[in-house]
């Protein structure tokens, strides 16, 4: 199946690991990734904070380009990009005024958009089977951290899992042989979006999440959201400094662990790009 892949600005930068691991696992799972031709930044929260038209037009241009490349599905692993693309497609199909504006601005006509826009968990959750597991992740205890953006609010952004107690990543981890610990912070907000307006709130949110994860007995936090992963991994030293804690919890993308269980070597999954190095943990379990 041909899947349009929209890396967005973060996957070529701060979320390198996610990009690398998605590329490594896709073809063994039967997906042909096609990078959206000449994609542009979706504008994320900035475009819609500054005006209506650009917040629609920037992601709409990407969706249209993906459609033109003959793909059936579209994924944008960054949840901010995903949400913008999802809403832009909705507007392309339902909001005739906005569509006309876009057609006028680019001097082109556009038909209805039918490409299926899926978030990063949705793309992989039904494709991984036990047949893909070459090296089970035995002994690895994890907490699955979905964060808020991928699951809330369900009606607006395409329901795919429970907004309070999601299960999709837990099921994937179980399938890979890791042990998913149930914990209360699955969908707690990490506050990445507040890092400019209220950095104290960001640190506190990170501290709380890391604390509950550690108390649950997890070796690592499994993430799907680029903002969460970045925030918890990169700011762990800042949190330790501020609160006098000694957290040393690797924050790993679920796609990296899928790859590891499929027998793909760690350096091809971006496992050397983390701030909190997951290698010692993985080596101790004979997984690296």
């Amino acid at each position: 199946m041909k899947v349009a892949y929209y890396p967005g600005c973060s996957l070529s930068g701060s979320a390198r690991e996610l990009d690398t691991s998605i590329k490594a696992i896709s073809s063994p799972l039967g997906l042909e990734l096609v990078e959206v031709p000449d994609w542009n930044c979706c504008g994320a929260s900035s475009a819609h904070s500054t005006g209506h038209f650009l917040s629609f037009a920037l992601p709409a241009r990407n969706v249209i380009k993906a459609e033109g490349a003959g793909c059936e599905e579209f994924t944008a692993p960054c949840p901010a990009c995903y949400v913008r693309s999802f809403l832009a497609q909705k507007q392309l199909n339902d909001d005739q005024t906005m569509k006309q504006h876009l057609e006028e601005a680019l001097d082109q006509k556009f038909g209805p958009s039918t490409i299926k826009i899926k978030n990063v968990i949705e793309i992989f959750m039904d494709r991984v089977t036990s047949l893909h597991v070459k090296k089970a992740l035995n002994g690895l205890k994890v907490v699955n951290y979905y964060g808020c953006a991928l699951v809330k609010p369900p009606e607006t952004f395409g329901f795919f899992d429970d907004p309070e107690n999601p299960q999709s990543m837990d099921k994937i981890m179980d399938l890979l042989g890791a042990e998913s610990i149930q914990w209360p912070y699955k969908t707690e907000c990490c506050s990445a979006s507040l890092c400019f307006t209220n950095q104290d709130a960001t640190w506190k949110a990170c501290r709380d999440i890391l604390q509950v994860a550690e108390d649950s007995g997890a070796h690592a936090v499994v993430a799907a959201c680029t903002l969460c992963q970045n925030n918890l991994d990169m700011r762990q030293t800042q949190v330790n400094k501020k609160y006098g804690t000694k957290f040393n919890l690797p924050v790993i993308y679920f796609t990296q662990l899928i790859g590891l269980a499929m027998g793909i070597p760690g350096h091809k999954l971006g496992l050397d790009k983390h701030f909190v190095d997951p290698k010692p943990l993985l080596k101790s379990l004979n997984l690296y």
Partner: protein, 210 residues
């Protein structure tokens, strides 16, 4: 203990509460009349009706950042119902809401509270009432100008713009070098080929004033 004190206090307080009640009633009516147009705009832009809120406080109970707010989310809804628009737009709440949508997922009246907060931010931004959200203003402006010139985000350029704009020159610089070393930041901007198209979108946005 002098008995009379209690009744005095009660009397005094009653008079005060009476006055407060009176004042509020007048203010609310006036505020509503004055701000109906705003509430209409808010309903149209957000697709949400704060009038539906019946003050169950589930939103506030689940809000992870309520402790940082000057008014909890349920109170914002009440203030909107009462037409206290300036107070809402001037609140710190709208800037320290992280848009996590826990409130929206739980509201029994089906109000997307996060969307209301978001729309309030956009309106505040457009009206220029962003004193408490000043850093966000700087961030968004720097972000959009980066996209305008490159078609994509230029992370180092953006970070520099923000740090200069907010006069916090060393914010998060402890993260910059490790990010560079891990290949997570690049010195040069990524550019798209068809920058002309992006230009057209920006020009059009200016033309229609959105």
């Amino acid at each position: 203990m002098k008995e009379s004190n209690v009744s005095k206090v009660l009397h005094k307080n009653n008079a005060f509460l009476e006055k407060k009640r009176e004042m509020k009633e007048i203010n609310v009516t006036q505020a509503l009349a004055k701000n109906n147009a705003f509430l209409e705009e808010l309903r149209e832009k957000s697709g949400q009706d704060p009038g539906q809120c019946f003050q169950c406080m589930k939103c506030t109970g689940g809000c992870p950042f309520q402790f940082t707010m000057d008014y909890p989310p349920n109170q914002i809804m009440r203030m909107l119902q009462n037409g206290l628009i300036d107070e809402v737009l001037d609140s710190y709440t709208i800037w320290t809401c992280a848009t996590c949508a826990t409130c929206s997922a739980r509201c029994p009246r089906g109000i997307d509270v996060a969307k209301v907060m978001d729309t309030l931010r956009v309106i505040a931004y457009q009206k220029g009432t962003t004193v408490k959200g000043r850093n966000m203003h700087i961030f968004h402006t720097a972000f959009m100008s980066s996209v305008k010139s490159h078609g994509r985000l230029y992370e180092i350029g953006l970070a520099l713009g923000i740090n200069i704009g907010t006069r916090k020159l060393i914010q998060d610089t402890d993260l910059g070098l490790p990010m560079l070393l891990k290949g997570k930041l690049s010195f040069l901007p990524h550019k798209i080929k068809d920058k002309g198209e992006i230009r057209k979108l920006y020009d059009y946005a200016r033309k229609i004033g959105e």
